[in-house]
């Protein structure tokens, strides 16, 4: 079978035939969507209503499927795009449906049809469509199922548009658009993660000066990262913003509650002083108290275990600093580059040559396409 890849603006001219589309879609669907019974096994933290059918789906966040894009030729220009695959799962394979998607990634109000996926020559309950979307973008979309508009029944991400209408949402890799946090929340989180990471050490500051602030413009643009607020924490807060929007939505509530409590208690401690103007020492104290689960002024009624939240932030901070930049942190590989510069032999040769393993143009490996 073939895959229809629709270029953004002039879709029909640029349809690319591709083998194995059906296999590709089934590969990314069956484990999560195929099941016999409807037990809500996948509601971790009450982030879904009990009646939400999504609670019966494993890893709902994997939809639409956001994947690397390649055209088979190894053309480096492909690196600027993701392959985004929308999936609709009907109740059964027998009844045929007409399903299309409309979204901001294509011409507005242009309905792009999903095709019914086949398995061993027979119809399945899955319908899918792949489109090519630039990295670093956020889009909203809706499905039209037999003439009726609806949100994506799998993907839990939604966005309320200015006119108050809710749409389904997805974002592509290396996205720096804030989705989760307000500015004040980001500020507090930056200070906390800043305290965890080693960039306020002597080595850290030297690195940031030499390497990061002077990263040439080109390489910054190449990695789709507006310089916006992604400075000292190598994008960790942006990573957390994204992981809470997608993979770990169930922790959004922890962050929302705790950041509000922290905001309040910091204001109380230094009456009137905005949290972002308070000193490093204030955050160090806060960190230490949270680690001991004994925080002066903490609202334990609202959130019983500040240490638990701190542990969560620790995991997210390290992951954000050192995971692949496509997840939104480790901007341009800055976290890796820090280690790569810190650890050298006496001839100055790096002892963490991450660029050799990682795909070009982020790294230097031209065999591996990412």
């Amino acid at each position: 079978m073939s895959i229809l890849i629709l270029e953004q603006a002039k879709k029909s001219d640029l349809i690319i035939e591709r083998d194995n589309f059906d296999q590709y879609v089934l590969n990314h669907c069956a484990k999560y969507l195929a099941r016999k019974e409807g037990e809500p096994r996948h509601n971790y933290n009450g982030e879904l209503a009990d009646s939400d059918p999504r609670a019966k789906i494993a890893d709902q966040w994997r939809f639409p499927i956001i994947d690397s894009y390649g055209d088979g030729s190894g053309n480096p220009a492909c690196y600027d795009y993701n392959l985004v695959t929308f999936v609709y799962a009907a109740d059964d394979a027998e009844t045929e449906h007409r399903i299309s998607v409309v979204g901001t990634f294509a011409n507005l109000y242009e309905r792009l049809p999903l095709q019914q996926i086949r398995f061993a020559g027979e119809a399945t309950r899955y319908y899918a469509l792949s489109v090519k979307v630039p990295k670093g973008q956020v889009h909203t979309y809706k499905f039209c199922v037999d003439g009726e508009w609806q949100l994506d029944p799998i993907n839990p991400q939604t966005a309320k548009l200015d006119n108050g209408v809710t749409w389904s949402r997805f974002f592509t890799q290396s996205c720096a658009v804030p989705l989760t946090f307000e500015r004040w929340e980001r500020v507090i989180l930056e200070r906390l993660t800043d305290h965890i990471l080693p960039f306020h050490t002597e080595e850290g500051e030297r690195f940031l000066k030499n390497y990061y602030y002077y990263l040439d413009r080109d390489s910054k643009e190449q990695n789709y990262t507006p310089v916006y607020r992604l400075d000292e924490q190598v994008g960790v807060v942006n990573y957390i913003d994204k992981v809470l929007a997608r993979e770990e939505r169930h922790h959004l509530i922890d962050y929302k509650i705790c950041l509000a409590i922290i905001d309040q208690l910091l204001r109380q401690r230094r009456r009137g002083l905005e949290p972002d103007r308070q000193s490093r020492e204030v955050y160090m104290d806060l960190y230490r108290q949270m680690a001991c689960n004994d925080v002066v002024g903490w609202d334990y009624h609202q959130y019983g275990n500040p240490r638990y939240f701190l542990q969560l932030v620790r995991r997210h901070t390290i992951t954000g600093a050192f995971s692949h930049p496509k997840y939104g942190g480790n901007i341009s590989g800055a976290g890796w580059a820090f280690l790569g510069e810190l650890f050298c032999d006496d001839k100055g040769k790096t002892l963490f040559d991450w660029r050799r393993s990682i795909e070009y143009p982020l790294g230097l490996n031209e065999e591996y396409n990412g």
Partner: protein, 606 residues
Amino acid sequence: MQTHFDAVIIGSGAGGAPIAHTLAKAGKTVLVLEKGPLFLPQQHAPSGVSDYKRDELLATGAEKRITLAVANRGQSYYASHVEPDLNDEPHIYRETGKFNRRTPGDYATIEGYTAHVVGGGTQLYGAVSLRFSETDFQLHSYNEQRTDLKNDPNDDVRREARDWPLSYQDFLPWYEMTERLIGINGTSENQAKPFRADYYQTPLDPNPISGYIAKGMDALGMKRFRTPLAVITEDHEPSGRKVPRDPDTAKTGYVNRYGDPLGLKSNTWVSLLAPIKDLPNIELRANCTVTQLESDGYGNVNRVQYRDPSGTMRTVSGKVVIVACSAIESVRLLKVSALANHDFDRRIHQNDLLGKYFLTHCFGGARVRVPERFDKSLSLDSDWATEFCATDDYLKSHGLWAGAAIYNNTSDSALPISLARTLDAQDMDTIWKSFTERTELTGDQLLEWLKEDFGTTLSVAFMANQVPLYSNRIELHPTIRDKWGMPSAYIIKDWHSHDVALMDTIARECARILEKGCDLAEGSVQGGGVYLAENGLARIANHILGGARFGKDRRDSVLDVNCRAWDFDNLYVTDGSFMPTSGGANPTHTIEANAFRVAHHLLGRL
């Protein structure tokens, strides 16, 4: 859709793929039913991008939580993209609290799964591909007259040790076939086992950190050889794979627990299935979970039920049916089939041994910080191995029933996130725990910790036989079910006191290698066996063996010498479950060799 085949093979990993390869090449019609997806390396993907990536968050993904009614409900877990979802398809193990302070009860665990994807566990494996030793095949005879075994007051070892119905010599041609067809690099010199022919490709240069290992092994008079690894370093004719201009491209920190986007790691997809995929007589149905086997009342499995990728129930049949789902899942499938079908039940339970004598390995090792720093992110899984602890001399002088392979790890903790998440934890159940709890690691202290541990930790591991025990077993859990409504596997296992003694003894040898290699005082390095781990009872090392052992005596085994279930004519089981003892080395090479052997038996009857 075709529904009848010469052979229906369930599972495409080490136990299934060699059979598919052999039968398809001989022109038989073959259907492979594989639960997992068909994830491709770059060269097979039309887009040129692989479903496997050098990405730390694919090996150990986002946090999920256990929602099942088990003792660790609410606990976090982190699985790879090709491991099952634990809430959908749990494995449950019984914690007794014997070796640690865990509260007794039933726990869900991700230990005990290999990988659910075409290629099975061989997609994620470290690719250490050792043959078993000659003694490993004869542990009953070897121990029959012994009175010197440590910590075995009830004589369990002598009672429970079994000879395999075949010897090392019998396995030799199949080992050779595996080495040739899979694509393995290594050196045969200094291996204690007899080699007739050498099919190894030339190993790449070792990571310089392994120099300490070479030095330590030499100082102790341990003969060493390059650890055989299923990674091609030269163009591989049987599978048509080509090595990039710079073969060192295979070296990376993304080795163990990562699929290889470049297809250089020799998994059963690239080595055995891709080369036959275009033959008209083979079909691979990925994303299809087999849920039941039915028998016709005359000793034949006449229907194989599976759920297709939509979840729709379908059936197929084969002249022969081969079960190779990895031991725990194979036992479960057989037991679930027995629940639903009286004839099947009677035949598969002709004795009560199905699921009994479940095995993993005694494993463990030692770890140090070496005085210099190395780039561990450019390596394969292991460089040096020794069979020092598998010789007759060694076993007799240490009162041990069976030997072990020792090898160093080079790619462990090579990357920053893995360093953090495996701090004080090496297993899937306790990952991230220590790093998040050690809240003092921030800023300067975090930097100090990185300086101490990044590129400086060196570990030596051992893999040894576990004493087979009737009470170590796989059952069906009485209450927990998977997303298909089928009872989940219930793992009940313990370490024997001789296992503990053996682990202590061999862990000490690993520690000595490091002491000698790094010029440290004797006794300064602490080694340990897995039983010491916080969840030492759950730990399986991804080596899932036994539970349907083969043998010559139908009263003492589940399968006959050809891995056919005794009271069936056409039902075979060929994953790790056939093993009567677990061998003193990583199991995959032997599972594959055995599957090639069974395949040739099948050619004789199809």
